[in-house]
C-alpha cells in the first residue's frame, strides 16, 4: 500500500520540524508487517483459558441482544473499545487489525463463515447505538463477506458485569483540575473465543497483529475439524458397533464438547460369535492362521480358553483376569494406562499389547522373549507385578479345585487334565481366534474396491510405503499385510526413558477441554521413579540389543492407544510426529529411523491411513467377549473363606 511510504515520510518530516516532540511511543507492531515467523498452523495448542462472559448489549439498531447470541456458533474476536479513544496503540489498533481481517474474509470464505468480529464499547455514555452505527458504516467497504458487529450497552451499570467477567479495568482519565477528560485508561485486550464460549487466547498491544490472530483462528479451525472428523468417524462406527469402543471412550477429551459414550457394563449384553470361523477362514488381508501341529484349534479348547481368559481366579488374590489388561472393548489392550497395573496396584513396566492378531506374531512380549502363545501365557500368570501367582503348581491346583472346570480340560484335550501344557493350549486357542482384518484398507487394497478408502487414507498409504518408509518394518505383501517384521528395533523411546530425558512440564487433563501443565518436579514428588527397562538386552545380554523392542502389527491400531512399549505416546498423531522427527537419536538408533520432513497435511494423511486399519469384525469379537462368563470367587472355591462377611469382589 502506497500509504506506508507517505507515512514514513511524514514521520521524518515531523521529526525534522518538531525535534522537541519526537519522543513518543512507537506505533504497535499490528500496523506493520509481522517481524517474526509464525508457527505452522495447527502445530500448537491453544488451551481454554476460561469461560467468556455473557451479558446484555445493544446492537447498532438499539435492540437489546445477549452477547452469547451474537457469538452464535462461530469463533469470535472480541475487542473492548471506545470511539473517542486517542491512543493510537489502543482502540484504533484493534479497528485497524479487525479491518484487515475483515478485508481478508473477502478472499477466504471459510474464515468469513467461521469467524465473527465484535467491537464492544466501554463508554455507553458517548457510544450510543447511533455512534456505533456511524462506526459500523465503514465496514461494508471491507467486503460483504464476514460479519463485524458494533455493540454498546445501555448504561455503565449494565456494562460493569461484562467488564468484570473479562477482567477489563477501565478508568476515566481526569484532567489536572479533576474533571473527566473524556478519555479512559484501559489495558488493550482482544479475546479469541471459541463456539463453546471458551477464551482461547488474549492479545495485548504487542501481540495484536492480523497474521497472528488469523494463525490462531486457523489453528483452532483445523483442530476442530480434525476432532469433528474423529467424532464423526466414531459415530459411524458406533451405529454398527455398540461394543467395539471402550467403556469410557476418551477420544476428543481435549475438546470441551466431549461427552462420554460410556455404556454401563450391565447394559452390555454380548452375543457369542462363531470364533472358529475366523480361524478357518481369516478375514480379507490376513494369511492362514498358523496353528501348532500339537494344538489344533478346536471349539471346546476355544471355549475353555475363553472362560479362562475372563476368570479373575487365575490371579493370586482372585481379582485380575487376562481380560482386565487386555480389555476387549479397549482393543484387547488398555487405553487408559500407559503401563499396565497388576494385582494390588503393582506397576507393570510396559504397555499391554493387543491380543488382536497375536496368532501371527512370531515374537511375544515387547522384548520378544517367547515365541508361542502356549508358553507366553505363563509370563503374566507368574509375574509378581501382574497376576502374581507364586508357582505353576499353585495355579494348576487352584483350577483343579474349582468345580466349574470339572471335566472341561478332559473334554477339550482328549482326557488330559489341567497341566502346564493344557492350560497354555486352551488360552492360546482362544487368543488365536482373535484375528481381525477386512478393514477399509483391505477392501481397497486386497478387495480392489477404489471407493473403500478415503482419499486422505490413500494419500497416507502412499506416504506409508513411500516418503515415510514405514513399510520397511511394518511389512505388507501382495497377498496379505500383518504390518510387522517379527523383528526388534531401537527407536530411541527406551533410550530416552533410561536417560531420564523428559519434558519439563506435562499436560494433565483434569476435565474435558481443561488441562494444566504440571512441572516435572511436582509430578516426581508424587510419582514412582520410572522402572528401568533395557529392552531386548535383558534377554540376550548383548549390548547391541539395548532398547530394542518388537515391531508391533498395526491392525486395529486406532483402538489400541496409548502407543510404544511404555505407552508414552498417547495418540497416532504423536506417534507420527515421533517418527517424523527421526525418533530419539542414540548410539543404537535403528538406521531406518531418520527425520522424514513430512508436512502437516502428510502427517494427517498418515494418521488417516492408520485409522483405516480397523477390522470389520471388531464389534463381533467384543460382543462375544461380553457374552463370555466372568469367573469370580464363589462359595466352594479353594480360596473361599467360610464365614467371610465381606464378599470378595
Amino acid at each position: 500500500m502506497s500509504f506506508l511510504p507517505v507515512t514514513f515520510l511524514m514521520f521524518l518530516l515531523s521529526a525534522v520540524t518538531l525535534p522537541s516532540e519526537a519522543a513518543d511511543s512507537p506505533v504497535a507492531p499490528g500496523y506493520g508487517p509481522l517481524e517474526y515467523a509464525l508457527s505452522e498452523v495447527g502445530s500448537y495448542q491453544l488451551p481454554a483459558l476460561g469461560k467468556a462472559g455473557d451479558g446484555k448489549v445493544l446492537d447498532t439498531t438499539g435492540r437489546v441482544r445477549r452477547l452469547y447470541d451474537l457469538f452464535g456458533k462461530q469463533y469470535v474476536l472480541l475487542a473492548f473499545i471506545y470511539s473517542s479513544c486517542s491512543d493510537v496503540n489502543g482502540c484504533p489498533l484493534t479497528s485497524h487489525v479487525f479491518y484487515s481481517i475483515k478485508a481478508q474474509m473477502k478472499h477466504d470464505p471459510e474464515l468469513a463463515r467461521h469467524l465473527k468480529l465484535i467491537s464492544l464499547s466501554f463508554d455507553p455514555e458517548v457510544d450510543t447505538p447511533e455512534v456505533m452505527k456511524l462506526y459500523a458504516n465503514n465496514f461494508r467497504y471491507a467486503g460483504r463477506a464476514g460479519e463485524w458487529q458494533f455493540v454498546t450497552t445501555e448504561s455503565e451499570e449494565k456494562l460493569r458485569p461484562i467488564l468484570r467477567d473479562y477482567h477489563q479495568e477501565v478508568q476515566r482519565q481526569l484532567t489536572d483540575d479533576g474533571k473527566y477528560s473524556g478519555a479512559y485508561s484501559h489495558v488493550l485486550r482482544v479475546f479469541l473465543i471459541d463456539p463453546q464460549k471458551q477464551i482461547r487466547n488474549i492479545y495485548s498491544v504487542a501481540f495484536l497483529h492480523k497474521d497472528l490472530l488469523l494463525n490462531d483462528v486457523r489453528t483452532l479451525l483445523q483442530q476442530n475439524r480434525a476432532a469433528e472428523m474423529a467424532l464423526a468417524g466414531q459415530g459411524r462406527q458406533k451405529q454398527s458397533a455398540v461394543f467395539s469402543g471402550p467403556g469410557d471412550d476418551k477420544h476428543g477429551y481435549e475438546q470441551l464438547a466431549y461427552q462420554t459414550h460410556s455404556l454401563a457394563l450391565d447394559s452390555r449384553r454380548g452375543k457369542a460369535a462363531d470364533l472358529m470361523a475366523y480361524v478357518v477362514k481369516p478375514p480379507l488381508g490376513l494369511p492362514k492362521v498358523p496353528v501348532p501341529a500339537d494344538n489344533p484349534v478346536k471349539e471346546k479348547k476355544v471355549q475353555l480358553g475363553r472362560k479362562l481368559f475372563f476368570d479373575r481366579r487365575l490371579s493370586l488374590n482372585n481379582t485380575i483376569s487376562c481380560a482386565m489388561c487386555h480389555i476387549p472393548e479397549q482393543g484387547f489392550s488398555s487405553n487408559e494406562l500407559a503401563m499396565a497395573v497388576g494385582i494390588e496396584g503393582r506397576t507393570v513396566r510396559r504397555n499391554s499389547p493387543t491380543i488382536y492378531n497375536a496368532a501371527y506374531a512370531k515374537l511375544l512380549f515387547h522384548d520378544g522373549r517367547e515365541d508361542t502363545l502356549e508358553q507366553q501365557i505363563w509370563g503374566p500368570l507368574l509375574a509378581a507385578s501382574e497376576m502374581g501367582n507364586p508357582s505353576v503348581g499353585y495355579v494348576l491346583n487352584k483350577i483343579r479345585h474349582i468345580a466349574e472346570y470339572d471335566g472341561r480340560f478332559e473334554a477339550a484335550f482328549n482326557g488330559r487334565h489341567v497341566s502346564m501344557e493344557t492350560l497354555g493350549m486352551a488360552l492360546a486357542s482362544y487368543e488365536r481366534t482373535l484375528v481381525s482384518g477386512a478393514s477399509a484398507f483391505d477392501v481397497w487394497y486386497y478387495g480392489n474396491d477404489p471407493a473403500a478408502l478415503s482419499a486422505a487414507a490413500q494419500r497416507g498409504f502412499r506416504i506409508f510405503t513411500g516418503k515415510g518408509n514405514c513399510v520397511a518394518c511394518h511389512l505388507i505383501n501382495e497377498r496379505y499385510a500383518l504390518f510387522m517384521d517379527n523383528g526388534l528395533h531401537n527407536t530411541g523411546i527406551g533410550y530416552r526413558e533410561s536417560m531420564g530425558i523428559r519434558p519439563e512440564k506435562e499436560r494433565i487433563f483434569v476435565a474435558p477441554g481443561v488441562s494444566i501443565d504440571v512441572d516435572r518436579s511436582v509430578i516426581d514428588q508424587v510419582g514412582a521413579a520410572p522402572p528401568k527397562d533395557l529392552g531386548r538386552y535383558e534377554i540376550t545380554q548383548n549390548p547391541h540389543d539395548r532398547w530394542k523392542y518388537k515391531t508391533p502389527g498395526l491392525r486395529n491400531i486406532a483402538l489400541t492407544a496409548p502407543y510404544m512399549h511404555n505407552g508414552s505416546l498417547s495418540t497416532l498423531q504423536e506417534v507420527v510426529d515421533f517418527y517424523d522427527q527421526g525418533g530419539v537419536p542414540n548410539e543404537g538408533l535403528d538406521p531406518l529411523i531418520k527425520p522424514l520432513h513430512l508436512s502437516a497435511q502428510e502427517k494427517q494423511d498418515l494418521v488417516a491411513f492408520l485409522q483405516s486399519l480397523t477390522g470389520d469384525n471388531v464389534d463381533q469379537l467384543v460382543a462375544d467377549a461380553f457374552a463370555a462368563p466372568v469367573g469370580d470367587l464363589k462359595k466352594g472355591d479353594p480360596d473361599w473363606v467360610r464365614g467371610t462377611e465381606v464378599e470378595v469382589r
Binding site: S84, C85, N138, G182
Partner: protein, 186 residues
C-alpha cells in the same frame, strides 16, 4: 404480512430516536487565513474532518497525509471533497502556524483554530476527547481522538473512520456518498 412489516418498522424507528443530541453538526471557527469559518460553507461537499494539533509527532501527519492521498485517489471527484483539520491545541496553533502546517500535506486543506472554549464546543459536538500531557523534556503533547469524521453534502455525519484505516477505504466511503447523495442509511 405487509402490515406486520410496517408495524415492525415503526417499532424500530422508535428505537432509533436518539436519547440525546446527535453526534456532529455545524460549528464556527477561524481558518488558517484568520477568516471566520462555518461548516455550512461546505454544503454540497463531502467533508473529511479531523482533529489534531500541529506539534503532533505521529498520528496527525499520518492522518493528514492519508487525507491528501484520498484526494489524489479521487482524481476529478476531489473537487467535491474538502479536508478540514481542527486544532485541539489553540494555545500553540495560531492561524499562521496552521497555514504553514496544512499546506505541507495538501494546498486545499482547511486548518481551523479558535478560542479554547470554541474548540471545546466543537469537540463536544463530535465527542472528541483531548487532554494535555507535559513532555519529560519540556513542552507538552496533546492526547486526542484520532477518528476521521466523514460528513455528507447535507452536513450530516455519515461515518466515523477509525485511525489507521487505509486511504482506499476512505475513498470507498466518499464514493458511496457521492453516488448516493440522498444520504440513505446503510
Amino acid at each position: 404480512m405487509q402490515t406486520k412489516g410496517v408495524i415492525c418498522l415503526l417499532g424500530l424507528l422508535l428505537f432509533l430516536v436518539p436519547a440525546h443530541a446527535a453526534t456532529g453538526g455545524d460549528f464556527s471557527l477561524t481558518d488558517q487565513h484568520g477568516k471566520p469559518f462555518q461548516l455550512q460553507q461546505l454544503r454540497g461537499k463531502v467533508v473529511l474532518l479531523f482533529f489534531g494539533y500541529t506539534s503532533c509527532p505521529d498520528v496527525c501527519p499520518t492522518e493528514l497525509a492519508g487525507i491528501s492521498r484520498v484526494l489524489k485517489l479521487l482524481k476529478a471527484d476531489a473537487a467535491k471533497v474538502q479536508g478540514v483539520f481542527v486544532s485541539v491545541d489553540p494555545g500553540r496553533d495560531s492561524p499562521k502556524v496552521l497555514a504553514e502546517y496544512v499546506r505541507y500535506f495538501d494546498e486545499s486543506l482547511i486548518g481551523l483554530t479558535g478560542s479554547p472554549s470554541e474548540i471545546e464546543t466543537v469537540a463536544k459536538q463530535y465527542q472528541v476527547s483531548y487532554s494535555k500531557h507535559p513532555n519529560p523534556g519540556g513542552g507538552y503533547a496533546m492526547d486526542h481522538t484520532a477518528n476521521l469524521y466523514v460528513i455528507d453534502p447535507n452536513g450530516k455525519l455519515f461515518a466515523i473512520v477509525p485511525y489507521g484505516f487505509p486511504p482506499e477505504h476512505v475513498v470507498d466511503v466518499v464514493k458511496e456518498i457521492l453516488t448516493n447523495p440522498a444520504g440513505k442509511d446503510l
